[in-house]
């Protein structure tokens, strides 16, 4: 599905709504150019999950794990500097019991997982607004419908 997001605040709100759908084991891939709003959306997901600690960019540390108030951990990954599935494996992420958000996903990620939700963010409009395209892959996302009240 496609969606237009007008402001950074709306991007955060979108993330927050998305979090309601997410379960342990879910993998969300966020793609989009520098400054598209990937971390902003993740901040919204964090807010929705009541994640502990500020959701900052994971670029420097590659992956940041946040405990959440009552639910599964939120793992926030920046794959920009990862070049293989082995390097991702080195990060020791507990995929089965966490909600994992990966920014800058690469081809090798598709080969390593069965299910994922891909959100592409397009910021080619010169305004603040962003075009989102959301697509689920694998059995986990079959028949899952999103109601973002657009």
């Amino acid at each position: 599905m496609k969606l237009t997001i007008e402001t950074p605040e709306a991007m955060e709100a979108f993330g927050s709504r998305l979090a309601e759908t997410l379960q342990p084991g879910d993998l969300v891939l966020l793609s989009g150019k520098l400054g598209a709003g990937k971390t902003t959306m993740t901040r919204g997901i964090g807010a929705g999950l009541e994640a502990i600690g500020t959701i900052q960019s994971p670029t420097f540390v590659l992956a940041r794990t946040h405990r959440t108030k009552n639910g599964p951990k939120l793992v926030h990954v920046d794959a920009y500097r990862l070049s293989s599935a082995i390097e991702l494996d080195d990060l020791d992420i507990d995929f089965a019991n966490s909600i994992v958000v990966i920014e800058w996903p690469k081809g090798f990620i598709d080969d390593s997982f069965e299910n994922w939700l891909l959100i592409e963010i397009d910021r080619s409009s010169q305004e603040d607004s962003r075009e989102l395209s959301i697509a689920g892959h694998g059995p986990r996302w079959q028949g899952v419908s999103f109601d973002f009240g657009n």
């Binding site: 520098l34 400054g35 600690g53 500020t54 959701i55 960019s57 670029t59 540390v61 946040h66 990060l91």
Partner: protein, 493 residues
């Protein structure tokens, strides 16, 4: 019996006792007032149905010594060991402040006092003729030597393996091994690479630090280690090494906060850290604004980045401009030839609407987007951009927002000191603008030397030493790496 620090509010009672105890030789009220108000003096009172005794200490920073200003007990309370208790208060304070000696003068005919001080370890070092006026009585000068703890500190939160050694407030060694070159090909720090590099660098770096300090492990009194915040894998290696050293040499170990370490670095530069202070810590991994009222007990996080750290923004903009990692020095170099006012890039979280929730927080995400857009727009239109102008304007935006918020924090909290720390302090423009803005605002600017600003082991050793000097118990061996350790937790027990 109750002991507490005296304030100006105690002045009337203090003067009543002073005049009663030292008729004709009593200090004037004005002198006592300035003693109580002074930054480098500490006065304690003993209370039992009112003030019954008092003692004062003066400790000038960087002198590494303290002087007993006065010590007095009213006659009806004498013989109860009150003088000894007050003297011990002063000695504890001198120890906590990093003094290596306490000096005092005492009347040669005051046998009770002389024998008290002697029993506490003071030795006579001099005699001053006609010291007390108008009586003309001679004074004995006495000195107590204090052995400050020698602490070895281990820093491994990111890509620097740092081993520092301090004695109290004195820097003895600061050895460093950086694995930055190994990360360059990955375009940033890789935790696994950093952890392995720490493993290889630790032993030689420890040896280098001991050599620098001209010490052997048997002369070390305690181990300190940064247990967070930082990269989990990197932290584990440093913590493992620190625990092994502590067990092998039977030494106490102190797990300390890396960010507070950056503030503690100033102790090694100055012999003390002047408090309260606002601290702006800026590096590849952190952008934090702290209010430090007490180094060990009162550190408050006023704000931090809500997206990219400042150093990270430099790296990402360097990527946009096609420059190699690390981006900071590259952009700095390019910016020298550029016009900082060429492009007005946005200042994150600086709008009136941000002041409520994010007054002291930082955001560099919008700035990064603006730079990317600027470059793309020019390229789409087939125009050449001036990379030096982009670099200079970007750098100006980062420096402007960092210092505007830091100085606002000083003003909002009535703090007249700003301390800079972290690797981004290497940025010449940041230091330059900081100096100008602080001068304008009447704020004292503190920037420790560069080797103490970047990640280093000496600052970790320094916090360990401060904890020991304040009489804090060591950490157990049960602590672990805490990658998101909050800044309020100075020591992990």
């Amino acid at each position: 019996m109750e002991f507490r620090e005296l304030t100006v509010a105690d002045l009337p009672e203090l003067m009543r006792l002073e005049n009663e105890l030292f008729p004709g030789e009593a200090w004037k009220e004005d002198s006592f007032r300035s003693e109580l108000e002074g930054s480098f003096t500490d006065y304690f009172g003993a209370f039992e149905n009112g003030l019954v005794g008092y003692a004062g200490l003066s400790s000038v920073p960087a002198s590494f010594s303290s002087d007993v200003q006065t010590l007095a007990v009213i006659s009806s309370s004498q013989g109860k060991g009150l003088g000894r208790m007050l003297a011990n208060k002063l000695i504890s304070k001198a120890l906590a402040l990093g003094s290596e000696a306490v000096f005092l003068e005492v009347r040669v005919d005051n046998n009770a006092a002389i024998s008290l001080y002697s029993s506490l370890g003071f030795e006579q070092i001099d005699l001053r003729k006609n010291y007390y006026q108008p009586s003309g009585m001679d004074a004995l000068v006495m000195r107590l030597a204090i052995e400050q703890p020698i602490v070895l500190g281990v820093e491994s939160t990111c890509d620097e393996t740092g081993i520092g050694i301090v004695k109290g407030n004195r820097l003895l060694a600061n050895a460093l091994h950086s694995s930055m070159d190994e990360h360059a090909k990955f375009g940033g720090v890789v935790p696994e690479v950093a952890a392995r590099a720490h493993l290889e660098a630790l032993k030689p770096t420890i040896a280098q630090a001991l050599k620098e300090a001209n010490l052997t492990m048997s002369q070390i009194d305690a181990i300190a280690v940064a247990n967070g915040p930082g990269l989990a894998g990197a932290l584990m290696v440093g913590i493992g090494a620190a625990k092994a050293l502590a067990i092998a040499h039977n030494l106490p170990i102190y797990a300390v906060n890396h960010l507070v370490g950056h503030v503690g670095a100033d102790v090694l530069e100055n012999g003390t850290v002047s408090l309260p202070t606002i601290a702006l810590l800026v590096s590849g991994g952190h952008t934090s604004l702290l209010l430090v009222r007490d180094l060990l007990d009162d550190v408050e996080l006023l704000g931090e980045t809500i997206d990219d750290a400042a150093g990270e923004a430099f790296d990402k903009v360097a990527r946009v401009l096609g420059l190699p990692y690390p981006g900071g020095p590259q952009i700095d170099k390019l910016a020298e030839a550029g016009n900082p006012k060429a492009i007005r890039f946005p200042r994150g979280l600086s709008l009136p609407k941000d002041m409520e929730a994010h007054r002291f927080d930082f955001s560099f995400s919008g700035l990064k987007t603006a730079v990317a857009r600027h470059v793309e727009k020019a390229s789409d239109a087939g125009l050449e951009i001036s990379k030096p102008d982009v670099a200079a304007s970007f750098r100006e935006a980062v420096v402007d927002v960092l210092l505007t918020k830091a100085i606002n924090a000083c003003e909002a909290h009535g703090v007249e000191r700003l301390l800079l720390g972290g690797g981004v302090v290497a940025n010449a423009r940041l230091r330059q603008v900081a100096k100008i803005r602080c001068d304008e605002a009447g704020i004292e600017l503190r920037i420790p030397r560069f080797s103490l600003c970047t990640d280093n082991g000496a600052m970790i050793a320094s916090i360990g030493a401060q904890l020991i000097m304040a009489g804090r118990p060591p950490s157990g061996l049960g602590f672990g790496a805490e990658s998101t350790l909050e800044v309020t937790k100075v020591q992990t027990i």
